[in-house]
Symmetry: C2
DNA sequence: GGGTAAAACCTAAAGCCTTTAGGCAGAAGC
DNA sequence: GCTTCTGCCTAAAGGCTTTAGGTTTTACCC
């Protein structure tokens, strides 16, 4: 029987692609097996179970997203960095809705700590260097930025902004602008 | 055979409670049948299918959340109203994580339009009356508030804020404070 | 109070997904 | 060339969803 060459990595990547096509919640071991033209049981040598597969996809997406964000902010500072960082998130979510969803998959604390979540937090803090905030304001600001970006992106993905004629891109820019203003206000407080 | 007295409403409510216990994604027709000590097939007279059940739970949660928010903002204005509104969301999400998740269930546009989503949007706009914003700023601000609240609440629920020692309540208050400041700045622009 | 018809719940069965156990055949190493 | 390991397979059990068609209960009406 021809061997397909399954590995956890290939399964993870294929799972990520599948997620973008059919939605993360519909990613299934069976469907993945079908795509590789292989029997379902065969996947269980590479992946512990369905949850494990989803965890891998989540970690993969987090890593990929962190890479993108890191690229985006490299060589920028202040509002420039803020906007680039924010856009990296939103662009990723729009190009890869399934993966973005995967990145929100609830990981157990251990797994999460070992994953790229830490990079995300560190990058957000790095963005704030341009605004010179002291603790605990910095932590508050990190949380606020994370909330706005994630909230906006997920509401937009859920179709929450399609009732109004106002262009989501314009709102997005407006929000980034506002956040920048706000953060600069805090600096001088 | 003793009749239990199933109705779509009772199933919906039980489903909401189940969601709070085991998580919305684990709400299942089978489990609900088990709770009512009834055969699975019996539920299908009251609910079209699993998706229909989830939709009903989602609509129920949206309605309940809108009720709470409406109560919270009644008789308040300005920052008071903003804070009460925000707290209503966060409190609901913390008391009823499963229902809050349900409220984020992706509804088809028709269903969503008929549901309480509209009330939420209208209330958010009402909050902004205290800040006297012209269009399109008002829409931008509505989107920003929705994003921050939803984003914060869902990141908090996902355990995203447990890595730092800073009290989430303090960050929350700080964020509301900041948003109030920001909105007041916009008014006078 | 008895008849009837709708409503509520049941049995049966098919289809799909997950997961485990054990088997065979290529691939890799000696 | 032989052994061993690995990759994929067959088989099977268990769970959830959904449909079809039966039976009992309830409620209404005469």
């Amino acid at each position: 029987m021809a061997r397909v060459g399954l590995t956890a990595e290939r399964l993870t990547l294929a799972g990520a692609e599948l997620a973008d096509e059919v939605g993360f919640e519909h990613v299934t071991v069976s469907e993945l097996a079908r795509r590789f033209d292989v029997k379902v049981a065969s996947l269980y040598s590479h992946v512990r179970n369905s949850h494990d597969l989803k965890t891998r996809i989540a970690l993969f997406a987090l890593e990929e997203l962190a890479d993108r964000a890191a690229d985006a902010v490299a060589g920028r500072a202040g509002k420039d960095a803020l906007a680039a960082f924010a856009d990296a998130y939103r662009d990723y979510a729009r190009q890869h809705p399934g993966r973005y969803d995967a990145a929100r998959f609830r990981l157990d604390p251990q797994t999460a700590a070992a994953g790229a979540g830490v990079r995300h937090a560190r990058m957000t803090r790095a963005i704030l260097r341009g605004y010179d905030l002291a603790e605990p304001d910095q932590t508050h600001a990190v949380r606020m930025l994370g909330s706005v970006f994630h909230g906006y992106v997920s509401l937009e993905a859920a179709g929450g902004f399609s009732h109004t004629a106002v262009d989501p891109q314009v709102s997005w820019d407006w929000i980034i602008d506002s956040l920048d203003t706000l953060l600069r206000t805090l600096t001088t407080r």
